[in-house]
């Protein structure tokens, strides 16, 4: 009788361990709003990079994109278990800043080939962030 009771206790203990395990792997869930935020960023980014191949950089699009990224960062950082997405936003912003400084310091328009190469890399970064969000559990 006592032995059976001990084994029942063991099973209950195992269940508790599993539930704790689930809690340990706490990861933010898929967020439709985050997905939309990243997807809608593509159009203004294309416009900004097209302006890098022209005489004048579009300050308007630059300001809009960086403000949006600050907003996304603020929104994402409060989600539990969302460190990877937050770090992706930081890396993406660093990439955009570097590109802007390169173009700004150069003082002349980028060639069409260079602009396309840079734009492809930036769009690839957005796609990676979108795929990250899609890989999260619903």
């Amino acid at each position: 009788m006592k032995r059976a009771f001990n084994k029942q206790l063991l099973v209950v203990f195992l269940v508790i361990i599993f539930i704790s395990g689930c809690a340990l792997f706490n990861q933010s869930k898929y967020d439709k709003f985050t997905h939309e935020n990243f997807a809608f960023l593509k159009a203004p980014v294309i416009k900004l990079y097209e302006s890098y191949a022209s005489d004048e950089i579009s300050k308007c699009f630059k300001k809009y994109i960086f403000r949006k990224l600050d907003q996304f960062h603020e929104y994402e950082k409060w989600k539990e278990g969302n460190e990877n997405t937050v770090e992706q936003i930081v890396l993406f912003k660093k990439m955009l800043t570097r590109h802007f400084e390169e173009r700004n310091n150069l003082g002349v328009p980028w060639s069409e080939v260079h602009m396309q190469n840079k734009l492809n890399n930036v769009l690839e970064a957005i796609d990676l962030m979108l795929r990250t969000e899609m890989s999260k559990n619903k």
Binding site: V12, G21, N84, K118, S135
Partner: protein, 107 residues
Amino acid sequence: MDLWEKLIELNTDIFSEKEIQALLLEMSKSDDEFVKMQAVKIRVYLNQVAKEEITQKEFNSYITDIRDLADINSKKVDTENAALLQRVMIIAGKLLLKNAFTLAKMF
């Protein structure tokens, strides 16, 4: 001028022709789609350098971009793995809960 000669001229102190060829070949054979994609891109960039469509400085900036993309990709892989592990834990937990009493009786 041959593509590889041009590259060696650009990066003589960093890589040799064989090293770059071996690296790109290794990347092309990778199971990881991301790595394969980067190999394709580097080949395109090298061709553009050879045709003088882009400068060495621009080429170097793409390599920095690839480094950033690799960092972003590693965060994606971490998230995918964590999501998979979470799914496994949830299923295992559910199964254990469902069969807890049956298991208890079996003992």
